[in-house]
Symmetry: C4
């Protein structure tokens, strides 16, 4: 995930010297605002998945086959995210149907990134013995409910992105931030000391 | 391996605005289906090698010189895979001899990626003291047999890819999935608890 | 950070064969000196943040929510740095207003990279229980003061970069080196043994 | 280093469809043989530095300030290596002065990558207390001598590369392989068990 997040910067393209009239680099850069917005959205999305994933790993006593697979599926989503981010960066300013397409594809991939969480927690509800004690089945059930919120919210945000791509992108950023705030709440629960690892 | 897998996304190119008539971004993207198929095949292949490699590392008590070298050879194969993946993405839709060439090169590199496993397990059959107890020489022999299946199956799939590149690619994906399912079986054996590490 | 630092090399472009008259590759490379200077500045900046970050992580007993967030903010700054580095590489030789713009943007992002340190140490002054004993609040206060120097020095360097982009870049490199030397001093303090980890 | 090694694959470019006459993809790929040779040389060089570095880290009890800095210098060399590799890939087939320039630059950077080892072992000769017991000053002296061989051999290989770039490249590969074989010898010495970590 650290890699996917740092690869995003490759989407921020340096304007070609020949396209910058009279040395107005600032104007040329400002005209690329959708790149920066898409970059920020993708960085936040991957960053929050990363923090969630670390907290998740700390709560698992043992990874079995299915968990490894759902993990790989999550990585597939995260690793692919730089692609729709590039699409958004290239077509958001356009504002026409291409911008809608890009915003919807970005949203659909974000949903796809939320699904592995559902699968993981459903698996843990059935196999609570994989959880780090004292976590138990009731904890897994609570997290499964929380993991269901993501896809539900996106089901609302994607049609918005279709009609108004820019509003949709703002929505995506808002979802990421909201999800993060909720998660911080859960980090403050009794098992938080177990989550004391370092991001880096 | 995490890096090779995330670099694959760089092969998913954003269509040039000038090549997208009437804002039909969806059509322009759909025309690039071979990119997505090649991306998925490469992601699965590297992902499964990754899971296998992690399970492998858990079974080794000590890495000696030759094991380090076979490891580096495996990494050479994995790190190079994005290149034939790009070839496939660029030439599969073409369908002519170039598609055959790309599919065969992809297959040959996959075989090359399967060979280090053979070398590693043959080395471990000779030096079972490098295995994590209670694993012994009979375990190494069993794994050596299992590692021999890969190259054998590819010996069949590569000629198929030469005649029918698209069918060959489907074959490669199938091999990856089948290999993965077999491996999950072996993860369920008595030493599985030792394999309880986290991917991420 | 290891990733951001190695991605920088992608900015060192190979001159196009058609633009190299009479095989004078050395001349063509020499003409790109701003690329190398910008590369060195960005490598040093990220490298020093990296060493600082590792020393920092060794001094923290537990990462809570806010620390994770400031960490992510720091990563956002570091991961974005290759972009203004590319800008500098492309426009520094130009010398006109575009060079000023590039040098100022590089400086502003460097300030943004210094800010999370301020936030982290301010948080640790309020929650000294997160520090690895025997570190205490007086240590956090000392580090907070040291972290305040960075933004202050940049507040002076950025206007310089606006007037004379090249001098500004030299300044940025000097700040990085000076910061590093200061830090080495602090590594030599009583808790240094705790910082004995390996970079790699 | 894992990142630098996987970034190398980005230098293997897919031939443009318009430049491939009559679907002769194999011919178009074969014409790019210098890319593959340069890729292999760089992969081997970084791979061997990587193995050496891991063995090195296992022999150090504690990293002090200077060691961290020499480490960063080594990383600077390794992270920059993909650039002269690209140069070689682009200009080796040309055979004229540009090929000489590319081969010499590659060689000079390889020397620069060998220098931090000299600095590190000289530092350890002065501070043998940083070594993992039972290693002592006599061990550090032996390694310092071994580290001196690299630059000496390159001092011979670089002029060769200037006169005959292709022969020079073969030389570079030979140095890497020879160095690796020597190193395997030293891995077999009494402290080898301490080096039993996994590459991955």
């Amino acid at each position: 995930m650290a890699i996917a997040i740092t690869l995003l910067v490759l989407d921020l393209k340096v304007p070609d010297a020949v396209q910058v009239p009279d040395g107005d680099l600032l104007g040329a850069l400002a005209a690329r605002w959708p790149s920066y917005l898409a970059y920020l959205a993708a960085f936040l999305t991957i960053g929050i998945i990363w923090l969630n994933h670390r907290a998740f790993v700390d709560r698992i006593r043992r990874f079995d086959g299915p968990l490894h697979w759902f993990n790989l599926l999550l990585l597939l989503g995260v690793a692919t995210l730089p692609f729709p981010t590039s699409l958004l960066a290239a077509y958001l300013a356009d504002g026409g149907p291409a911008a809608s397409t890009a915003a919807v594809i970005y949203g659909l991939l974000s949903v796809a990134t939320a699904l592995p969480w559902l699968l993981m927690w459903r698996h843990l509800v059935r196999h609570p013995e994989l959880l780090e004690p004292p976590l138990d089945i009731s904890y897994a059930r609570r997290e499964l409910r929380r993991a269901s919120i993501g896809p539900a919210v996106y089901a609302f945000a994607v049609p918005v992105a279709f009609v108004a791509p820019f509003v949709g992108l703002i929505f995506y950023i808002a979802i990421a931030v909201l999800y993060a705030v909720t998660n911080q709440g859960s980090v403050a629960d009794p098992i938080a000391p177990a989550a004391s690892t370092n991001v880096g």
